[in-house]
Symmetry: C2
Subunit: 204 residues, 2 copies
């Protein structure tokens, strides 16, 4: 890969002249990182949703048959929904990102950059909030809350809790990836508002 | 307030020549919004921490005397700590912001902008996560979780739960304010990386 193609000879919205090689290289690396992160989030989001969504355990207490499933805990339902949405959103964004890499265009379209930035921000906070709520529920389920006489349910449903934990680990990676992506999309958006510095840097 | 002073005759790191009035006006408004938000977060963060931290209720069940306090619920302790940190952080940042407004300097210092951006991001996610965890605990306390035989404690400690709810409403405003601030600091940081567009906009 030469450092000029993809940006220097760009058919994108605004071509960059003068072969600013360093900027072109940074641009391509940022776009590659974005692409990798979006694929990672898509895969791990599906994994988290499947791991938690398919999680059940049946136990018999004397004559009573009890089944634990993820819908018993509303926070887990929220986590499954949030990760499902994140996976779908990342798939669409990943396709857009791949398309712009193939076309070699650079993002200089403010409304699109604002839309991507807003979407990434909402997803990052939604994922983080749903994970925190599920983590709180899980801590209570694991340790109990003796002050309120909330008993440890994980000692009854060990396998159920372990699988939920695996799903949450996957959801944690998804959240961290989405936070990183929201920083990348903030970079892609707000650098469009630069220019002050270039103007006042003594070249004028 | 004229639209030139504060930026046009700036004693800051990099003065802006040619009286770019629109940019100067946007700069001053962004800085003013930042200042107002930091003060708001400082005040409401203290309010949230005090409301929840001072919340206790004593009840007598026949011969047993029971006291509910915020330390019974670990998520509330986390929320108090997070809001306390946010208030202190915002006080320091507010002072910095006020100082830069008095001096009339514009932020063109990348390491400082990175530090502010990172701090705001960490605070925003910390506040959001602690609020989500506390909200999850509160929902269980309010509605109970019959599948796990976790009983509603809010029916026993009505006054305690109401005051916690007020504290959480305050914490919600703090979180939203910090999210807005993290967008503002992203804008302040990443526009320093602009310039591509100015160069290729036909003026060169």
């Amino acid at each position: 890969m030469s450092s000029v193609d993809g940006v220097g000879v760009s058919p994108g919205n605004v071509p960059v002249y003068h072969g600013d090689n360093l900027k072109a290289m940074i641009d391509r690396r940022v776009r590659l990182a974005e692409m990798v992160l979006r694929c990672l989030i898509c895969g791990l989001g599906v994994l988290a949703a499947v791991l938690i969504g398919s999680d059940t355990q049946v136990r018999e207490f004397f004559t009573i048959r009890k089944k634990a499933k993820f819908t018993d805990m509303k926070a887990l339902v929220l986590l499954v929904v949030a990760n499902g949405i994140a996976a779908g959103y990342s798939l669409i964004q990943g396709l857009r990102c791949g398309l712009s890499m193939i076309k070699g265009s650079v993002l200089f379209n403010k409304p699109l950059a604002w839309a991507i930035f807003s979407g990434d921000q909402v997803m990052a906070y939604l994922l983080m909030a749903s994970l925190a709520a599920a983590a709180q529920s899980s801590v209570i389920a694991r340790l109990g809350q003796p002050e309120f006489q909330w008993m440890k349910v994980c000692s009854l449903y060990e396998k159920f809790c372990t699988q939920t934990g695996e799903g949450m680990a996957s959801a944690l990676v998804v959240s961290l990836g989405m936070i990183t992506l929201s920083c990348i999309s903030a970079f892609n958006l707000f650098r469009l508002y630069g220019g002050n510095k270039a103007k006042s840097s003594g070249r004028w």
